[in-house]
Every structure is written in C-alpha cells, then in structure tokens.
Amino acid sequence: MAYFLELLLNGALTGLMYSLVALGFVLIYKSAGVPNLAQGALVMTAAYVVWIFTSYGLPLWLAVLLGAVAMFALGLLVERFLLRRMVGQPVIMVVMLTLGIEILLRGLVPGILGAAPKPLNAGIGLSPVIIGDVFLNRAYIVGGVVALLLIGASLLFFRTRLGTKMRAVSDDHLASWAVGLSVERAIGLSWGIAGIAAVGAGTLWGAVQGVDWTLSALLFPAIAVVILGGVDSIAGVLLGGLLVGILGSVVPGYLDSYVGGSTRDVVTSLIILLTIMIRPYGIFGREDIERI
C-alpha cells in the first residue's frame, strides 16, 4: 500500500513536472493555433540560459528572472523572423517549421555553449520528504508547486480581454487581421509566455538531470500530456499531467520487473494512441467545427 501510494504521489508530482513542459505547448496552441514541437528545445535553451547566468555567479532567482526576460525575447524573435511568414499555411508546414526550430536550437545552443552536461543547482535538498513509509522527491514537490502556480496564472490570463483576443487569433488569423488584431503580436506574445514557462521547466528539470540537449527529449511525455488533456486546454495540462505521471509511474512500478524492460515509454505511447482513438480531442480539448 505504501508502495502504491509512493508510486502514485511521486507519479503525480512527476506528471506536474511534465505539465510544466506541456504548458508552453498549450499556451502557444491556444493563442496562436501553432502546434509547437520545439517546446522541448525551448526548455533546453531556457535551462542553458539560466545556467549561463548562474555560471557568472548570479544568484538563482536573478538568473531565473533574467532567463525569463531572455526567453521572452527569444519567443518574440521566433515570431518576428519565422512564424510571421507561416500565417495561413497548412498544419504540416507549421509542424515541420517548429521541428526545424527544434533541430536548429538543438544544434545552436549546445554548439555555442558546449554539449557536455552542465550542473544547475536549484538549491533544493536531496533528502526526501518522508510521510510514513512514503518518500517524496523534494525537487518534484517544488516543481509541482511551480507548475500549479503557472497553470493557475494561465487560467486567469485567458479570462482577461487580452486572453480572449489571443484565443480569437488562434481561431482565424485572417479574420483577426480584418478586425484589427495584430496576429503577429499575439503569436509573439504567446511564444514569449511559453518561453517564460520554459524557464520554469528548464530550471527544474535542469536541476534534476543536468543541462544538456537531452532536455529537449522532454517533448515526448509533454505531448502525451497535451494529447490526453486536450491541446488547447489549460485545465487539460493539469489533469493530463497528473494522469500521464501517475500511469507512467504506477504501471512500470508493478510491471517492469515482470517484463524485464522499462514499460514507461510504452505506457506513454499507449496513452497517446488510446486517447486519440477513443477521444481524439482529449479530455478537455475543443472539437473542430466542420460544417458540410
């Protein structure tokens, strides 16, 4: 029982850590209509940026703050130079563009800053939080709290007028232009915000595993989160993250020793597949309205 609880709780926390990565994806999708497969690379870049600042001796909070500013700027730049020209293109083109960005960042950032893993100390102690016989990962608890805060902030954001405008932009670029909404600014803003979310994810994951390009591989579990929760739903990020995390922890926790291999990726893949087959738009995702 304690074992189950431990798997459950740690899984839930891990899931929130994934939510942190997934949040950026949803923010961009919900407000720009762009499926951003470069979110993993953004997380990696953010982690490198924070690392650079700390390596100059800045305290972590300042490094994170500066990192947020830098990543926001990067998001704006991505829009200015790349996405601006993709308005009105079919989804495959946009998906591929973001993959191109992902590949580019994965080359550029480690190319300039060094490919060997860098340590990033977030000052979170190693000793677990112990409740009964359940050991909880302290770093993940911090991650979970940050994730909840960011998700809450995003929920509020989309209730504001600005948020409504950004949702309008994701719905129809041309119509947005026609009523004077700056599609460019909305997309830039959404990438900027996603960049800030990436700083959260990058710092916490970087503290856990070190900073190198493998951070960009976090995209895969993040995608499972997003598909499960619904690509445009902030609440979905939360629920999807919890489910992906819990299933990805509980199932391997019981199965792995029988299978003799790690089943976590299988679980993740199956979550993606089953969701798509059973409920294509995820738990909270919106359906496409197609009128014949």
């Binding site: 308005v87 949702r167 041309l174 119509a175 026609a178 004077g180």
Partner: protein, 263 residues
C-alpha cells in the same frame, strides 16, 4: 471630400496571376458605394487590397496607390489600417467559431483614450442585432448563417470604423434576412455617417440603397455612376437586375451572350 481613393491598383497572386489591373475608385466620406461584378471579377481582391489582407493568399499590390483620407494605406499593415478607421467584413462571415458572440465582440474591441467603452459599443451592436443578444453565450460556430453574418458586422462595428467594407453580406441568407441586413446597413450608414463600401451580387437590392456603384469585370472597372443611372442601363438590367420574378428561366436563351457595356 475624398474618403477612400484607389488609383490604378494592380494585384498579382502567386507572383504570376494578375487578378486586378488598374482599378481606380473613390468613396467619399459618409457615402455608400457598391462594387458590382460577376464571379471572379476581382471584387474581393479589391477589398483585400484595401484592408491589407492579401498576404496570406500570396497576393501583392504591385502597382497603384491606396489612400484613406491623408493616410497612405499601402504603407500600413492590416491591423494598423483598422486603427486608421477602416474595417473589412470578410466574405463567408468568418466569425471566431470557438468563441461566444460576446467574446467575438471583445476580441474586436480596442481600448484607448478617446474611445467609447466596451459596454457602450456592445449595447449598440446588440441594439442593431437583438438576436445576437439572445445567443450571446453559445459558440459562434454553431450559429445560423444569418446570425453569423450579423455577428461579423457587429464585430466590425466594435472597432469604431469610419469606413466599413462588406463583402457579399447577403450570401446564402434568406430573403427576410437579406432585407434585414440591408436595412441595418442603411441604418448604420445614416445614423453614424459611416462610409460604406459594399460588394454584392444582389444588384437589385444593392442599387436600392447605395448612392453610387462601380461595375468591375475581369479585374477592370468597366462602368460607374449614380445608382439611379445605372439602374436604367440596359446591360445592367439584363445582366445584373434580371426581371426579378418576371424572368422566365425556362426560356432563357442558350447561346452565350456578349456584353457590350455601352454607357
């Protein structure tokens, strides 16, 4: 006093396809002007050139000049043109389907000094289109065609325009709604001195309410004049007005007819 002036505008799609060639037209302030023409004549293209929406379709204004008051529109991006006071209601309505009508209005509203408050504007729109008030909370994508058209116009009004361009507002609407929409357009034009540039296929109804009209064929203006004069033109009668209910469709001639456009 000139409101919108197009001189010699040429638009090329996809770098190769010349859609309009040397279009010149003028819409005076407070005037209501129609742009008539058959399918593919270049009406929508002209409007998009004015509102700056050619980009996503790989179109480009390659020649000519578009001015709105003292502003050179070609130098501005689409949102800036809206800020300058002109707004384009797109063909095919294009409401934000996943947003409620209310949110559609929010999306188009821009706060700023010297601007009216959101609530005030929204009330005005709902007074024009009481039907929208009732449907204010369901997703716009599921509204009926007429309601979507109303929403599209209402949304455009939220930008407090001085010039509104409407692209085929009656497309696919029931006769009753067509009357209603035309009535409202007329009302808006009169009560706010709002300049209107109207693209329509429904020439009969259009010529009833506009002051002047341009005829565009094959990307070129072929005729223009006061609505009353145009109505009398035999070609316009034959090709645009028809006999209304009096046309005997079963007897329509089989051979291709030629347009002469004798003015």
């Amino acid at each position: 006093m000139p409101g919108l002036v197009l001189s010699n505008v040429e638009v090329i799609y996809d770098k190769v396809f010349l859609a309009i060639k040397g279009v010149s037209l003028e819409v005076g302030e407070g005037e209501m002007v129609a742009l008539l023409g058959s399918n593919g004549a270049g009406k929508s293209t002209t409007l998009k050139a004015i509102s700056g929406l050619l980009g996503p379709e790989r179109g480009q204004v390659t020649r000519g000049d578009i001015r709105f008051g003292d502003t050179d529109l070609l130098a501005l991006g689409a949102p800036a043109r809206v800020a300058a006071g002109l707004v384009h209601v797109l063909e095919g309505r294009r409401v934000f389907g996943h947003l409620t009508p209310d949110e559609n209005l929010v999306a188009a509203y821009r706060a700023g000094s010297g601007r009216r408050s959101f609530d005030e504007l929204r009330e005005e729109v709902y007074d024009y289109f009481p039907r929208l008030r009732e449907r204010g909370r369901s997703k716009a994508g599921y509204l009926s065609g007429g309601e979507q058209q109303m929403l599209a116009i209402g949304r455009a009004l939220m930008t407090e325009p001085r010039l509104i361009m409407l692209d085929e507002p009656s497309l696919g609407l029931s006769p009753l709604l067509v009357q209603e929409i035309f009535g409202i357009i007329n009302k808006i034009n009169e009560s706010h001195k709002l300049t209107v540039l109207l693209v329509e296929q429904n020439a009969a109804a259009t010529l009833e309410i506009v002051d002047r009209a341009y005829l565009i064929e094959n990307g070129q203006i072929v005729m223009s004049g006061e609505a009353a004069t145009l109505k009398e033109n035999p070609d316009v009668q034959e090709f645009y007005l028809g006999g209304g209910e009096h046309t005997d469709y079963r007897a329509v001639k089989h051979y291709s007819r030629r347009k002469r456009w004798l003015a």
